[in-house]
Amino acid sequence: MEIEILQGIISLLIILGFSPLFAGLINKLKAVLTGRIGAPVWQPYYDLKRLFKKETINATVSSFVSRISPVINFVTVAVAATMLPIGFWKPLISFNGDIILFAYILGLARFIQILAAMDIGSSFEGMGAAREATFALFAEPIFFFTLGSVAFISGLSSIYDIYYSIQLNNISYIVFIVICSISAFLLAVTECSRMPVDDPNTHLELTMIHEVMILDNSGIDLFLYQYSGYIKLFIYAILEISFFYPFSAQSYLVGVMIFVIGSFILALTLATVETITSRFKMKNIPQYLLFATAIGILNLLIYTFTK
């Protein structure tokens, strides 16, 4: 029991510690693919350090919502991170139905962040907030049609158990899992505001979703927002990688190796996608998300009928 708690805490620390590195890795790979040298992999850490020491400036019209929002955002994302398995270690929080808590606790982060964006009273933030609310809505079904469909088929409702139940020995199940992971990748792209949906690099407010919501923040507030953004990216990366654990081979070393290799491949994929695609028109995003949902539905249908 104590060992399990310790393992859970270590997993959490890994997520908290390495999430900026993952973001840095994507940026570096992207730079390499576009023929630039790019910033070092450690750049996100430097950014965070810089932000930490800056003065905080709040908008005059802002209220208590802006003060508490970065904190709640960070805490909820961290709590969501404690539900995910790394390697074969049981996460700190794992009980029946935690898949729902996971989805809804990220909903709390989103709720408070949208409010904080509207708190500034600027229409730029308003636009970002409206888009976030809209696109998050269409992203919700994808989550349930990927991880949820695995859950419903296995009859389990805890994230760790769900991943644990994945056995790669039946061909139709392998196809099912692979297509699930494609859907989950599309979800990760949306939720982490990566390229075909959102552009994390541009600074033209009209084209952004997530970045524009935190435009009027600075100092420690921005530090917390950025950090929770990195953690969120890493969380979705773990959701994606965990599909490929052969859980029947239960060695921690193998798990960690798969985890590291998987993260690298995923970073490479994200970087490649960001290199070769351009951002969608805003009005095309709902149909892109519906497309991902459609893949999930089709996948589940086919699996149900071939069994």
Binding site: S172, Q287, F291, A294, I302, F305
Partner: protein, 210 residues
């Protein structure tokens, strides 16, 4: 294996329903042609015969090379715009496609309990037929109608392989020829329409009725 290819076929159907460019349609047609020829070739891996291999090869040549090339040529020659001009929102269209697909899968699964058929290719072919019809219904351009018709025809093909693994080859070849002639005729029609009406909308055809 057939199932996996059919799933890819279905994914191509989803892609075609959110694609907003004519080029995307042509790519999907090529992909579907390839998938179909692979699906038909599979039985012959175990039981090789020269005569049986003719159909897949013809299919490959006609569907992957000839027809797409011809369509591309028409697009270039007549200087057709790239957008497909839908009559309803793409989002609604995709929603419609999803709902119909779910219904088709459920229905074909119920059917499969009574008779001997392969559910996944059957349902995929069925959905392709329905989606081909939708494309003809909800798009304005005649060239897209041709693509919709070809998707429908692909659907019939897949449908056929699911119902009986060996349709008489002559019939299939006949269908293929039929399709080719239809596409050719449509091409001529497009040429004529463009020379007389200066537009490629089907709405323009409405003016011809008197």
């Amino acid at each position: 294996m057939e199932n996996v290819l059919s799933i890819l076929f279905c994914l191509s159907l989803f892609y075609v329903s959110i694609s907003s460019r004519v080029k995307g349609y042509v790519t999907v047609l090529q992909l579907q042609g390839l998938l179909l020829s692979v699906i038909i070739v599979i039985p012959f891996i175990y039981d090789f015969s020269i005569f049986g291999i003719i159909l897949p090869v013809t299919l490959l040549v006609v569907k992957v090379f000839l027809i797409p090339k011809y369509i591309k040529k028409i697009i270039l020659d007549l200087d057709i715009k790239r957008m497909i001009e839908p009559t309803i929102q793409q989002f609604t269209f995709l929603l419609l496609v999803i709902v119909s697909m779910v219904v088709i899968f459920v229905v074909s699964n119920i059917l499969s309990q009574r008779t001997e058929l392969n559910v996944i290719p059957f349902a995929s072919g069925f959905s392709a037929i329905v989606i081909g019809i939708y494309i003809i219904m909800f798009r304005k351009k005649l060239i897209v109608h041709v693509a919709g018709f070809l998707i429908l025809e692909n659907g019939i093909f897949l449908f056929g392989t699911a119902v009986a693994s060996e349709l008489p080859m002559m019939i299939e070849l006949g269908i293929l020829l039929d399709v080719f002639v239809v596409v050719f005729l449509m091409g001529i029609a497009l040429n004529n329409i463009s020379s007389t009406l200066k537009g490629f909308d089907v709405t323009a055809l409405g003016r011809l009725k008197d």
